[in-house]
Symmetry: C3
Subunit: 336 residues, 3 copies
């Protein structure tokens, strides 16, 4: 694809030779037939030395290659990748090696691969791709152009929106963790709610999202979830929130919109995390967090405070020594 074709489709201004590029790569590994991007000043030297044939950048560089100048090079580069790597063409229709219940509906322009299972009254919409090993339970609705990668399980009665991507091994709608103790045993509280996943949601491999006890666990539109995330029953997650790998959200927590939870965070049950909150990796949120706060640590506190607490924490042995010295001095003085 020629660079001029790219700017024609995506905007930006081309500086330097209009050449053909055939691939995309990192600054270090790019060859003259590749396009790369410069979005982080840390990599300026690498950008100046790159062998790439073209660079996407927010400022013209003194680099020996063609450049496309644009406001948000990373976003632009994401779109270039979309042009260079169009979605593969898929066979349309239902494989005769899949199992589709006679009462299920599969749109003629959807794909159901061999060894996928689609239960009674499930509804697979236009453009969906159901990979091998997926199990779409009774009465589930999957919206248009949603992709279920291999071995995804959607329990009965749940709903997945349009343009979603569910990666391999995701489980939607397993029972929430609810038991009532009878003095001897933990008696199961039937989990009769459901899960509703919005549109344009991406969920990473082997994530688990439990169905509600009574109403619905809700994942807002535009939410992006990394791998191995756990979402408890009755949790509500607002739109465009980002949740990094191995984070866990306990039952009935409410997470706002545009929140970012770093990797390995934990959120306690029944609490509320306001819109736009950012939590650093490994934050343990045990009580409500107001909108817009940046938090860290366990239990979580303002990130700026946490930085000071951590500095003191790492220096505890020297603080201990200082207190010991003071005690000696004060004691000696008392002896005078």
């Amino acid at each position: 694809m020629r660079l001029s074709r790219i700017t024609e489709l995506l905007g930006g201004s081309l500086a330097g030779e209009d050449r053909e590029i055939t691939g995309a790569s990192t600054l270090e590994e790019a060859t003259p037939s590749d396009i790369s991007f410069f979005a982080n000043r840390k990599y300026r030297e690498a950008a100046l030395r790159t062998r790439a044939g073209a660079l996407v950048t927010s400022e013209p560089l003194d680099a020996p290659c063609s450049q496309i100048v644009t406001d948000n090079p990373y976003l632009y580069f994401a779109r270039v990748l979309g042009l260079l790597h169009p979605e593969p063409q898929r066979p349309r229709g239902v494989s005769d090696r899949a199992y589709v219940h006679e009462d299920a509906f599969v749109h003629p322009e959807a794909t159901v691969y061999p060894l996928a299972y689609v239960g009674p009254r499930a509804r697979i919409s236009k453009g969906c791709v159901i990979h091998p090993g997926c199990v779409v339970g009774e009465g589930v609705t999957v919206g248009e152009h949603t992709v279920l990668h291999p071995n995804v399980v959607v329990y009965p009665g749940c709903t997945v929106g349009a343009h979603c991507i569910l990666h391999a091994g995701v489980v939607i709608g397993s029972d929430g963790f609810g038991f009532a103790f009878d003095g001897v045993r933990h008696v199961k509280v039937p989990q009769v709610g459901t899960v509703v996943v919005g549109d344009h949601v991406e969920i990473g491999s082997n994530c688990t999202i439990d169905r509600a006890a009574l109403t619905a666990t809700r994942i807002g539109s535009g939410v992006k979830m990394d791998n191995l995330v756990q979402v408890g029953h009755n949790v509500v997650i607002g739109d465009h929130t980002i949740i990094v790998a191995q984070t866990g959200i306990a039952g009935s927590a409410r997470i706002g919109s545009y929140v970012v939870l770093g990797g390995q965070c934990g959120v306690a049950g029944h609490i509320s995390v306001g819109d736009g909150v950012k939590a650093a990796a490994r934050t343990g949120i045990a009580s409500d967090v107001e909108p817009g706060r940046v938090v860290s640590g366990f239990p979580s506190m303002d990130h700026s405070r946490w930085l000071r607490v951590q500095a003191a924490y790492k220096d505890l042995p020297s603080l201990l020594k200082r207190v010991r010295d003071l005690e000696r001095k004060v004691m000696e003085r008392a002896d005078d």
Copy 2:
């Protein structure tokens, strides 16, 4: 179902009108045809305002609806849900789209769904449900009325008791993590033990339970495990223990009965956690814990101590300042 029919079946005393209810919901979302419950004083206001047609409660409330009075409203409500949502009727028998080895035994009153795999000499007991995508290995025994949700894997030789529920993606019996270093490589120690799961056990989605190196990893009866929990080889877990999501238990640890491990806890290998221990979320248990203790933190300590430690920890910057002030004062005094 009429309220009088419910009290006839489950006990409790009915106050107010005997009406028909058709569903169950939360205090906030219930409608006049729903039953709800009041078990947490925090929600008293919500209970007084509810539109529910009936409430399960431990004390008669001045609420505008019928009430069922009982000692343990949450437990009672769990049972009401069981009445309102009976287990769905399932097709009996083995789907001709399943793969069942000719040397396997499947009870005629069990269900094996399409695309499930049952290996040689496996034994599927009466009332079991084996969902699509499950893989029941060679020689596995699954007890009566146990449900394997989609894509559960039970490795060869393992045993699952009766009335268990294994949620989607659970793996039982993968190799324990054992290697002997030969100076260059980590040589695999063959894991020739097994896993024995008791009765009435529930295991959450995508949990992993490793087989023993030599003998058996044992999960006691009545154990309830949330999603994404990891259990190492040779671990022994006592009856009626509760393990919340994303907790990990390292090899050869022994966990007592009626223990509660909160979410994202870690238990070190070869240690012992006594009966009735409660560990708060994110506790890291690195040494033995005596029966009945309540612990928190990492390394774990008594919860009451942890609360004081955490209070001091969060205030470290001010402690640092106080020590600095003291040093200045003592220094000034010395200069006098």
Copy 3:
């Protein structure tokens, strides 16, 4: 198998009677027909009391059984287990209940079980075993004698080396977590790289390893990974590194060779962990670590320092009291 046959095959010197053993077990549970091993002084008493018919040990013990004396008893015992438990014979060839694309290559001496899926242009080498429920994507190569346990998913274009063991539910090659914000939405950055797994790698159940954004996520040869580990896109892991359960490694981190990451560790993105580093369980590595260091805590620090910090941390309430006492004394003195 007679003990003399074992020493003939594996070396070591036999002391005591040359007897027949039929199994292997722990010191506590062994019977006279079992062999056991003594490698940890902590278990000396158990070794002296064992009912085992034979012991592998590094020093002759005053125990009432035959002994095989060797330098590394645990390694030796691992090999004995291999002799006593040879790999089961498997049916060769492709089950007619599997789905193998007509453009895939499966070596005639490989095994593909019922309900496995092998996509177009995939290559299954000699001696491979592909268990039920596995999904081997388009163009994937699986090296000789590699075993994919049930429900493993390898996304298109990835490569798995020879003699690897991938446990149930492992996902290789799901999309890395990359999004560019356009002011309203998180726009997906297509993940067009791949995953390359070396030889002799073992990966635990339900681990997730993301494909690179552009180039390749690389898992070195001899790497051993426990269950539920998360590896982000573009991560590079050196040879013979060990990663214990539930650890997460964020995108573009570089982990050296012969590293050991304990359970529930976290490694931040774009950092470098040097060869031979050892991180205790639950370490959070947020910046580069030099080769050979032993680290703990979050943020990580030298393990010896962490021990002192932790001791002080647990004693914070008493430190607080000491500072309060000092303040009172200094204040009183000032009043004199």
